[in-house]
């Protein structure tokens, strides 16, 4: 096992598995978010459950945060090692676009934008939630989530930042989702199907997130 831990292939496995884990989380996240458009009451119920269920709060949430940290730390490690592997002198002429897609060659940049977005997203929702519960010790209010969410998307700048981030998330998933199967050794007769599904996922899920942000921006709560 010690050989596995030090190996370059282990780094591939870690990137792939943490990436797949985050993909599963996205499904859960987008499903609950869509409820905010369809049924505010259900959205409030689901959000309250996620916010106060001990299993979600003290097991799933730390695991999720660990997954994000592992994915981006390993991404930086890989990028640094890969830059070193080219050597001290680079090419004068290098046509990367002739043999690989822009998205696959720039995962670090799409990843960095998504990471920066996560900073804003944590500030907007997670820190607000932690402050509400564990700093101000406010009483439980199962009806507040919908109004708080819609309120967040009132400023145009925040809505636009979210939409831009979803575009970059889409690009990141476009290469990363299918790539994780290859890293885990899956390349067989099902691969063309997996690639199609992964690319559809990379478009549909970020599109749904962007739609939700725009919907709430364009449909503010009027008192």
């Amino acid at each position: 096992m010690s050989g596995l831990i030090k190996s370059s292939l282990a780094r591939k496995y870690v990137m792939a598995l943490s990436g797949l884990f985050l993909v599963i989380f996205l499904v859960l996240h987008v499903t609950i978010n869509l409820a905010s458009v369809i049924s505010p009451d259900f959205f409030n119920e689901a959000s309250h459950f996620m916010g106060y269920n001990p299993l979600v709060q003290f097991i799933m949430q730390p695991v999720l945060i660990a997954g994000v940290i592992v994915h981006f730390v390993m991404g930086f490690v890989l990028e640094t090692q890969n830059k070193k592997a080219r050597g001290s002198v680079g090419y004068t002429s290098y046509k990367g676009s002739a043999n690989a897609s822009w998205v696959s060659r720039n995962m670090i940049y799409s990843g960095l934008v998504v990471l920066a977005f996560l900073g804003l997203h944590f500030y907007d929702f997670w820190i607000h939630e932690m402050t509400y519960k564990y700093v101000e010790f406010n009483d439980q209010d199962p009806t507040r989530y919908y109004a708080e969410t819609v309120e967040k998307f009132a400023p145009f700048w925040r809505t636009i930042l979210y939409v831009i981030s979803f575009v970059l998330l889409s690009l990141h998933l476009w290469h990363g989702f299918a790539s994780s199967f290859q890293s885990m050794g899956v390349n067989n007769k099902y691969t063309p199907g997996i690639k199609k599904f992964a690319k559809a996922f990379a478009v549909v899920v970020p599109l749904a997130f962007a739609f939700i942000a725009l919907y709430h921006h364009l449909n503010p709560i009027t008192h």
């Binding site: 890969n82 080219r86 885990m184």
Partner: protein, 248 residues
Amino acid sequence: MKIYLKIWRQKNANSKGNMVDYTLEGVEEDMSFLEMLDVLNEELISKGEEPVEFDHDCREGICGTCSLMINGRPHGPESRITVCQLHMRSFNDGDTIVIEPWRAKAFPVIKDLIVDRTAFDRIQQAGGYISVNTSGRPVDANAIPIEKEMADNSFAAATCIGCGACVAACKNASAMLFTAAKVSQFALLPQGQVEAADRVQNMVHQMDLEGFGNCTNTGACEVECPKGISLENIARMNREFLSATVKG
């Protein structure tokens, strides 16, 4: 044809190199790329200048020796060929052609366009062999029936000529396609099963020691490989390595 060349010149492994401009006239479109370099070197020698050093051997696309980055692509602009199979008809009169050596920390430049590719030899030596006696006494390799698909895939992997274009093309200078091809050609055959676990672990370990980069599945290696080695081999290596390591 008149062409303008920008060629990497470097005196030896320890000196600093730089790009040098040359103009070559009278280039025929039916010349191979290496013949064009031969003509340039004839001119340089006749002028008393040092000729451009470059690797070449069979000049028929099977030895993997000719290793040039031409206008930003390994083996030049055409697909599925080596530099010796590239002809000047792929270029136009007045073109500027940039010629550089493979760039990778594990492939240090020896002189001009020649790099040291013994890192590949060491990966091969770490496990790219079988110790089964297949001479016919006592075991005849042909006596073991092998599924056609398996045999075909093994042969396809074995067509790797170890040229290093995969490393040169990869933005990470990763040698995973080469290593995976060498692992796969044995992993697919019954004769390769005896050392299968040790082979993949030792070859991957050696690949890491040499300082090659990590694979990020861009697929550039597969596109630039003159023999069309498939990314399926990398997935197979990933499976073999995981299984070998977990089983201990």
